[in-house]
Symmetry: C2
């Protein structure tokens, strides 16, 4: 039970983009160099982020990526759900979905173990929803301003 590397790459790529001005496109070359990951692999992840409307992409010379909305409106949950998929923490009958969205209906005659797990999921999501890309930048700025111990 661990988030994949892809989620880490996605978060860091977005943090990188968030440090640029709007309209300033960043190519996959710069991103992959910054994150120390291959262009081909990272481009798959960026493509997912684009399909989900988290970044915009422009092909062709001097093209690249930029955030599709401000960094304070991109939450950890947004990113995680795009990259990891929107599976539930626990499924009673692994492999098949019974109801589309009635999964959060606590009154249905569902497995009691699942009820506990749905609660866990909601707690987790609630936390991840409250943390944004901008939040990380703010924390970094705070850290940077503290007693000039910049370089490690």
């Amino acid at each position: 039970m661990q988030y994949t590397k892809s989620t880490g790459y996605a978060l860091h790529a977005l943090i990188h983009l968030a440090q640029k001005d709007s309209g300033q496109y960043v190519g996959i070359k710069e991103l992959s160099a910054a994150l120390v990951v291959s262009e081909s692999y990272l481009s798959k992840i960026m493509s997912k982020l684009r399909q989900d409307g988290i970044v915009r992409a422009v092909t062709g010379a001097s093209g690249g990526y930029e955030l599709a909305r401000s960094a304070d409106r991109i939450t950890f949950l947004d990113v995680i759900q795009v990259v990891e998929g929107r599976q539930h923490l626990y499924e009673c009958f692994h492999g098949e979905e019974s109801t589309p969205d009635a999964i959060y209906d606590m009154d249905s005659e569902e497995c009691l173990v699942k009820k506990v797990m749905i609660g866990a999921e909601m707690h987790l999501h609630s936390y991840l929803e409250q943390h944004t890309i901008q939040g990380v930048l703010d924390a970094a700025a705070q850290r940077g301003s503290r007693a000039g111990n910049k370089k490690a």
Copy 2:
């Protein structure tokens, strides 16, 4: 990012055991029949639970498993950590710890992303710690006594 089937089996097996009296051993045959899973597979999971002191096992004729402590002191977190392992939700440097390159260390974002994830993990664990096997039994009893609105 989903708990494995094994976790589901473990939780249901413990719920089954919790419904028996102390000193009443339950064999793998009964358990696997109740959960609709093979004996050989479930026995691996039970063995883990035993190694971690969650159940006791007695070999030989009329042997089997029983809870090693009361059901209200076996939390979801206990079970999950035994079956899933105690990995973190997120690792900065998945697997390896090298990459002294870390050029993108400009703001030490790596640790900041992890900091958010550690917070998420703590929230999740806090919730899972507060839910026990006994809690599920209690919920089941309540549901059973609500004679009437069984089906929505």
